[in-house]
């Protein structure tokens, strides 16, 4: 795979699709994927994207964008992660123990899922991002904005 960047993209896209499979069988509304107030959800996604990127944007120096070849993989993975963690897992934990368990549980498992791919010093930022997205899911009962915000952040960095 080291010599085949195309395989890396395919593996990431496949991972995103596998994560999406966790959401199968859940009604869209339970996942936070309703279409009411769609403009606001869209706007919320842009706002979340801005918040997620703000620390990198105000840091001095040029922060390069994600290599273009990884763009589709980044979108697939961000959609898959949101559907799996803030969608299906959040809904299941919400049924089990209410919003506090859903927020803390989905954030903890999302952070744990990044332990292998991220050096330790990045896990604080990963956990804080997960908490922010989970709180949005709780406060607005919406997953559209976290999907959009997460995809924007992944496309940029």
């Amino acid at each position: 795979m080291a010599q085949q960047p195309g395989l890396t993209v395919a593996a990431l896209a496949l991972g995103g699709a596998a994560l999406t499979a966790f959401a199968l069988g859940w009604p869209p509304e339970r996942l936070g994927l309703g279409t009411s107030k769609f403009g606001l959800r869209l706007l919320g996604g842009l706002a979340l994207g801005a918040v997620l990127l703000l620390p990198a944007a105000v840091r001095p120096g040029v922060a390069p964008l994600l290599p273009a070849g990884l763009a589709w993989a980044a979108i697939a993975v961000s959609i898959g992660e949101e559907l799996a963690f803030r969608g299906a897992l959040y809904a299941a934990l919400d049924d089990l123990g209410g919003a506090p368990l859903a927020i803390i549980g989905s954030t903890s498992l999302w952070t744990a899922a990044h332990v292998l791919s991220h050096p330790t010093q990045f896990l604080g930022a990963v956990a804080a991002a997960g908490l922010l997205l989970a709180l949005w899911r709780w406060a607005c009962k919406d997953l559209v904005a976290p999907v959009i915000g997460h995809a924007i952040a992944d496309l940029a960095l």
Partner: protein, 234 residues
């Protein structure tokens, strides 16, 4: 109100957490660990000095074995085929990799990785070139080629290269000689795959555009909602 306050606190907590690590939140598409710079860019934050590397490659029946030499931080990996060295009666070939203490900036080139000096106790067999992989930072533009020089002052020659795993660059045909290695691109042309807007400051521009869109689109929505609630109260 309680929900808005919780979200606001989460935004502040996230901003603080992401500020403490450069470049901030990323989701596994950045390099697996921060790049260790000889000359860190301002946005790098805490930096660890790059590592050196050493390999002892056994020679069996006059043929050096397939092996690799790499720095302890994995930022440079050199792979050798069986018989890659002109062994000349040696029983072991030693390979040394040392990051330079300085950062060469040859005219017309922009090197984005550290420069490494690779030496060995035997020359390479020209018919079996060594494969070279260099990792680079996501804080720098993508390099186009790996460059080689016999002296840090140059001249630096491009080795045909291609992207490897994310944030690595690999030689296509390898190298038949040791020397100094670094990855970069011609400074007269933009780095490959780059989008140069506003002097390369595309991320701040992107975030500013997002904020403007949210404010501009959010204000009419807020006014409409206020009017609707006002109508209901009347």
């Amino acid at each position: 109100m309680k929900r808005a306050a919780a979200l606001a606190i989460a935004v502040i907590a996230y901003s603080l957490a992401a500020w403490m690590v450069a470049p901030g939140f990323y989701d596994g598409f950045g390099p697996p660990q921060p790049y260790n710079f000889t000359c860190p860019p301002p946005q790098a934050g805490a930096n660890i000095k790059p590592s050196s590397g050493h390999a002892d490659i056994p020679v069996r029946v006059g043929v050096s074995e397939a092996d690799s030499a790499f720095t302890d931080d994995g930022q440079l990996v050199m792979g050798f085929l069986p018989g890659a060295f002109v062994v000349g009666g040696k029983t072991t070939i030693t390979v040394e990799i040392k990051p330079l203490d300085t950062c060469p900036q040859p005219a017309g080139l922009r090197l984005v990785t550290n420069a490494y000096h690779v030496t060995a106790s035997a020359a390479l067999n020209p018919s079996k070139p060594a494969n070279l992989v260099l990792r680079y930072s996501n804080l720098e533009p993508d390099p186009a080629e790996i460059y080689q020089a016999s002296d840090p002052g140059g001249p630096w020659t491009a080795l045909p290269s291609q992207p490897g795993q994310p944030f690595t660059i690999v030689t296509k045909q390898g190298t038949a000689t040791f020397g100094y290695f670094a990855a970069g691109y011609k400074s007269s042309s933009p780095p490959p795959g780059s989008v140069t807007v506003g002097g390369g400051q595309i991320l701040p521009i992107l975030v500013a555009v997002l904020i403007v869109v949210v404010v501009l689109a959010g204000l009419p929505l807020a006014i409409m909602r206020r009017r609707q609630s006002g109508d209901r109260e009347d």
